[in-house]
């Protein structure tokens, strides 16, 4: 028996070796090419090229180049990508060759300049668990209050939901917002939103590319267990000064490229700031209640790109965002002051060196600081003396990342790398300040390191089989204690014939920093906690099996993809009953030593089915994304040790998007979104009991207290969410030179009152008795929006 197993292994091994060898000994030639836009002579990045007769897509790289390695023969290259005219090139490959392809775009297209990463929607190009969002698609979709948003756009895709209406967050395949790795130029974002979560921190004017990995995680990513959103900003243009400005109702944005040394050194910066008028409006509204409120947000992305040689590229990147919310209330001769501030600042240096066609090195170093602060104080208006108490959460990190890409053969590439990250996490930092002193009351900072090493092999086997196998080792080191995670990553894709593809993946991930969100009613404040003491790193296994199909009928193109997936979560973190983020920030001490008093760990599982369909015919594109899923948690310390529905258990989610290009310059877009209710905890019993005076030990019938009893966690489903948004965009040429775009939109066209939050209120009945009622508050009715942008 043992021998037969050995023999089978040997046969498999020989078969594998022979397969590789058989592929290598054929007469194969390399076809190198570059794709250039005819009008501007710019190279075109990330454009898909369909290779016939294989009907397989390859994409141009960051330099607009592509490389094919194929047997001698006749081939066709087809580039069919909006807004460019369809281009077909026939090739007779009989030796190593080079090729330059020029693409022509229609004059006046608003996508002329900034097409960078482009809408693909090809289901055979990559694993079906990976979602790519491009600037083109982002520009088309309706916005809320005139703000395009990457995270809201992603929430329209299958397997992805958002936590509430207007929330700029994503929940991927049953995972929570805090279990997603949000990257911006390789730096993790802790603060991903502005304006109470309504606008994401990703400024759409500077997004170059965005990929969401719902499964099939490459080995280079780690640190979160549910998904990875890898966003890269636009590089500085080294040849031309150009820019863009946009004004919407909520915020104004601008970006500019400045070449400092032509072809060698360039600077790019993009900024966004909330419009001051909006803040005034909010202040006026709230002054009726005696408050004075101010809201403010801004972000800044900048990079300096230097190409000292053809083989070296250095990029210095800076990111800064901040949110402020002030509430001041006069009270006699006093001014009561409250402030919430949220900010993140990071700087990184990325050095890419191409040693040869087969060897490339990427080195990155970054420093990052996140701070959330809650401050309340009091000022004596007569003498301006003040005192305040500030509570903050601070995370600082410094990281070194190294990746070596080695191309063993055109079909076989290795990525080998690692990273070292040093964290200082301060869950609670309290200071007291008055007119004369500042005193630190608590500084609960903890230092720990995360060291990771990985290797990944990307292998194209014969007959359109692609396999990606990786292994990542992560060690969290704290006070000489090690938490080691071994994380295998495996994904496989096969193109069965001209139009079918199958993909499968299995990945393990771990998460050392926990982001715990409030579980009850109200604002979802959050707390960051390290994996120290009793708190262990989170771990997850994600499996996915998908299929894709492309169909071409006359001029109509249909694409379908479907994924069935399963996710198993270990050591997920939730607040224990009775605790929330603000309670811990304001009323608890020595938090990192007592984490087991406030939070608990448990397991979860989620499974579901994603479906996406896309149809395009001439100027009309329609897409549909549907998810059915189920997510449950099981914590020993919660719900009497019984399983309960996870807060991300949104059973059905559907989005329909339609785009109609009425003319070269006019585009109409509509999207309808539906999510079934999400679980929240609502009391099972509410009654009245006498209040109790603990000083005297007496009951008081006249002044009762509510007796509120929850018998089960997440026992109630919120009402279903749905809305329709419309946008019409017109491109125009300003002064015969500048591209402009006017966009008018309507959010929530049929004025659906979707619940933003639930709370308990009191109602007087016909019998004059007061009874508690459950109320849903909606804050987004039908909303018009307008924005104007110009590119120069």
């Amino acid at each position: 028996m043992k021998n037969s197993i050995r023999f089978t292994y040997l046969l498999l091994f020989l078969n594998l070796c022979l397969s590789i060898h058989a592929e290598e000994i054929q007469n194969r030639y390399q076809l190198r090419g570059v794709l250039i836009e005819k009008n501007s002579n710019r190279v075109l990045k990330h454009i898909p090229i369909n290779v016939l007769p294989y009907n397989r897509d390859v994409k141009t790289d960051n330099q607009g180049r592509f490389l094919l390695n194929m047997p001698a023969g006749e081939y066709g290259l087809v580039i069919d990508f909006y807004p460019y005219e369809k281009t077909e090139v026939g090739i007779h490959l009989k030796s190593d060759s080079t090729l330059t392809i020029y693409l022509k775009a229609p004059v006046g297209s608003h996508l002329l300049e900034e097409v960078n990463v482009l809408s693909v929607k090809s289901v055979n190009e990559q694993n079906t668990a990976i979602e790519r969002i491009d600037k083109n698609w982002l520009d088309k979709l309706p916005s809320m209050i005139g703000e395009k948003d990457l995270l809201k756009t992603l929430a329209l895709s299958s397997g992805v939901t958002s936590s509430s209406e207007g929330a700029a967050d994503i929940q991927v395949r049953g995972g929570t917002h805090g279990q997603n790795l949000y990257l911006l130029d390789g730096v993790p974002l802790y603060s991903t939103s502005h304006f109470f979560g309504m606008v994401s921190a990703y400024n759409p004017t500077c997004i170059g590319s965005a990929e969401l990995y719902k499964a099939a995680f490459p080995a280079r990513f780690g640190g979160k267990v549910s998904s990875v959103l890898d966003v890269h900003t636009i590089d500085a243009d080294l040849n031309k000064v150009k820019g863009e400005a946009e004004m919407g109702i909520l915020a104004s944005k601008a970006s500019i490229h400045v070449p400092l040394i032509k072809g060698k050194l360039g600077f790019f910066s993009a900024g966004r700031i909330s419009n001051y008028s909006l803040l005034n409006a909010v202040s006026l509204f709230t002054s009726a209640y005696g408050y004075k409120l101010n809201l403010f947000f801004r972000d800044l992305n900048a990079n300096l790109k230097w190409k000292p040689t053809d083989h070296d590229e250095l990029k210095l990147t800076w990111f800064s965002n901040s949110d402020k919310f002030n509430a001041n209330q006069p009270d006699g001769g006093l001014l009561i002051m409250g402030k919430i501030e949220n900010s993140q600042h990071s700087a990184s240096l990325h050095w890419k060196r191409i040693f040869s066609d087969k060897l490339q090195n990427d080195f990155k170093i970054y420093n990052d600081r996140y701070r959330f602060e809650f401050n309340n104080g009091i000022m004596d208006l007569s003498n301006k003396h003040f005192s305040s108490l500030s509570t903050a959460t601070i995370i600082t990190s410094t990281a070194f990342n190294e990746n070596i890409r080695f191309q063993y053969s055109p079909a076989c590439t290795f990525d080998i790398g690692g990273n070292v990250t040093q964290y200082r996490l301060t869950p609670v930092f309290k200071t007291y300040t008055d007119s004369t002193i500042t005193k630190t009351l608590e500084n609960d900072s903890q230092d720990f390191s995360e060291i990771a090493a990985y290797v990944e092999n990307n292998w194209i086997l014969k007959k359109n089989n692609r396999i990606k196998a990786g292994l990542r080792f992560t060690d969290v080191l704290y006070n000489k204690r090690h938490e080691l995670s071994v994380e295998p990553r495996l994904s496989y894709q096969v193109l069965l014939n001209r139009n079918y593809s199958l993909s499968a993946s299995l990945s393990s991930m771990s998460q050392p920093i926990h982001r715990v969100a409030n579980s009850g009613l109200g604002i979802p404040f959050e707390l960051f906690l390290p994996s120290l003491g009793e708190l262990r790193p989170q771990k997850a296994w994600t499996a996915s099996l998908g299929a894709g199909k492309e169909l071409l009928l006359n001029n109509a193109k249909f694409t379908f993809k479907s994924d069935i997936w399963y996710k198993k979560l270990q050591n997920s973190v939730e607040f224990k009953d009775g605790f929330d983020a603000m309670d811990i920030l304001l009323h608890q001490d020595n938090v990192t030593n007592r984490m087991d008093e406030f939070v608990c760990q448990g397991n979860g599982k989620a499974y579901g089915l994603d479906f996406s369909g896309n149809f395009s015919l001439n100027a009309v594109t329609v897409s549909a994304d549907y998810t059915w899923m189920r997510a449950t948690n099981h914590f020993n310390d919660l719900n009497n040790n019984k399983p309960f529905a996870a807060s991300t258990d949104i059973r059905n989610a559907l989005s329909l998007i339609g785009c109609w290009k009425i003319s070269e310059n006019l585009l109409v877009t509509a999207n309808w979104m539906f999510q079934s209710g999400k679980p929240i905890t609502v009391p099972t019993f509410i009654s009245q009991i006498p209040s109790f005076d603990y000083r005297s030990g007496e009951m008081n019938y006249e002044n009762g207290n509510a007796l509120i009893i929850n018998t089960e966690r997440n026992n109630f489903r919120t009402k279903a969410f749905h809305k329709l948004d419309l946008t019409i965009s017109r491109s125009l040429l300003l002064f015969n030179r500048y591209q402009g775009n006017v966009s008018l939109g309507v959010y929530n066209v049929y004025n659906r009152a979707n619940a933003y939050m639930y709370y308990i209120n009191t109602k007087k009945g016909n019998d004059g008795k007061l009874t508690p009622v459950l109320k849903a508050a909606s804050i987004f009715p039908i909303l018009p929006s307008a924005s104007f942008s110009v590119k120069f």
Binding site: I249, N518, Y701, N705, L707, I709, A776
Partner: protein, 280 residues
């Protein structure tokens, strides 16, 4: 021109944001069935009292007699049952005899026989073995101005207090003055108060402090009460709702078998703090 532009902008935005907040009542899952409610809190040196009613969400219904035949009994665990006496025309019961002493560290049981074939309610509690005592406490008036507060004409100042946590971590603590409960920060080994806006009546020369040490179930109940009060909004002012909401899940504290309610206990210590003028 700028003013006109700004005004127009504000009108549009006000339309968008002020008119947009809508609230609606939704069907709540609570009180699908009415169940018996038993409520009693024991403390040494005080009379044993209890409330026996029925769950009814309407406020002001506490004095409606829910179970006219109900009889309540209390005992020290494994001891003799003593029947409590119902106060006439109320749901309130008292133990009129003083043969049952409530002692630190002792365990007690309460039962309610409802009659009419209804199931008997049963619960137990253990009185905390010791009470935490305030170790340090001080109050300094920080300015000479007076303010009109719920304590009358008052001074404002800095109040500090500190006490050790008892070995049993599940015990809870409540610090009260004569009018109010005082928020404190709880640490690993001690609790501390730093209140920079604590007011005292202008004529007060001292503050009476009561430190309550509660058993675990009463601790959970008090936490649940604080959260539910924060989540229960008296108005539809959305900003107030948004800012005051507590995001915690209300903890489950019911320890009454065959019913709902609470049978808890606590011990108490008292301290007097002198009001002093602040000297920097």
């Amino acid at each position: 021109m700028l003013f006109k532009l700004k005004s127009s902008y504000l009108i549009v935005l006000l339309f968008m944001f002020v008119s947009c907040i809508r609230t609606e009542e939704v069907v709540a899952p609570w009180n699908q069935t009415n169940v018996p409610v038993l409520f009693s809190i024991l403390t040494p040196g005080k009379q044993v009292i209890a409330y026996m009613g029925e769950s009814n969400q309407a406020i002001d219904t506490m004095q409606e007699i829910s179970y006219p035949d109900a009889r309540l009994y209390i005992r020290e665990t494994a001891g003799k049952w003593f029947e409590m006496e119902r106060l006439e025309h109320t749901n309130k019961y008292e133990l009129v005899i003083d043969s049952l002493q409530i002692k630190k560290g002792a365990s007690y049981q309460i039962k309610a026989e409802l009659g009419q074939g209804l199931a008997t309610l049963l619960a137990s509690t253990s009185i905390p073995e010791e009470n935490a005592g305030i170790e340090t406490a001080s109050y300094y008036i920080t300015d000479t101005l007076v303010y009109h507060t719920w304590k009358g004409i008052s001074y404002r100042g800095i109040f500090k207090a500190r006490w050790k946590i008892l070995p049993k971590k599940e015990y809870g603590y409540v610090l009260l003055d004569e009018d109010w409960d005082i928020k404190f920060v709880r640490g690993e080994t001690e609790c501390k108060v730093y209140e920079n806006d604590y007011v005292v009546n202008k004529d007060s020369s001292s503050i009476n402090l009561f430190l309550i040490t509660t058993d675990p179930i009463l601790n959970t109940y008090l936490k649940s009460l604080a959260i539910s009060e924060a989540q229960h909004s008296q108005s539809d002012d959305f900003i107030s709702v948004l800012l005051s909401s507590n995001g915690a899940t209300i903890p489950s504290f019911n320890n009454i078998s065959n019913g709902i309610g609470l049978f808890g206990s606590y011990v108490q210590s008292r301290t007097r703090v002198k009001v002093e003028q602040y000297e920097k």
